[in-house]
Symmetry: C2
Subunit: 110 residues, 2 copies
């Protein structure tokens, strides 16, 4: 079966996951454009393995990005354009969010 494209293709564990759970505000202010740009930018970062993302009609979303190491995550977190986006996120786009960094130990697919 062809793998649907919303799934990330990740290597054998171990690797890392950043689980970002968020509730959007009603404020737009360029959100969609920046969100798209962040995915494009992340994809080019060292150690980026993939991303899976979904948001429902009420604005609640989960984005999981996968990385080869905690160093790769720290590098991406500190990227200047990403820092600016994080600040807009905190100030304007998200009513609440949770961010968790986790080490993937086992993985299955079907």
């Amino acid at each position: 079966m062809k793998r649907p494209s919303k799934f990330a293709t990740t290597p054998e564990p171990p690797y890392y996951a950043v689980i970002f759970t968020s509730l959007r505000t009603d404020a737009d202010d360029g959100y969609a454009r920046v969100a798209e740009r962040m995915v494009e930018l992340a994809t080019g970062q060292p150690g980026f393995l993939g991303v899976e993302s979904v948001r429902d009609a009420e604005g609640f979303g989960i984005t999981v990005s996968y990385w080869s190491s905690t160093g790769a995550i720290a590098h991406w977190k500190a990227h200047a354009e990403h820092v600016a986006a994080q600040e807009m996120g905190m100030r304007t786009w998200y009513a609440h969010y949770e961010l968790r960094v986790a080490r993937v130990e086992r993985a299955y697919a079907r």
Copy 2:
């Protein structure tokens, strides 16, 4: 600020996350009822910490459940009613899924 209820309230790390990414088929066959029952059942399991779940209009979804230990995850995986639901999931409800077990090492909220 009142925490929106779709977010899980988890303790300080470390704890475990089960990241379940899935694409639904068009088959219904009791899916919504069983999905709701599984959340209800999981909530009562030893070591259950919380769950966050979202599915978009195209049937792509991410559910992250949080657990105190890998033993708690194994215990839930082997629960008879859950095993039956897993089999229906593989056979009927999911066109594709990915399941990852990860150890949460750091967490932030805002």
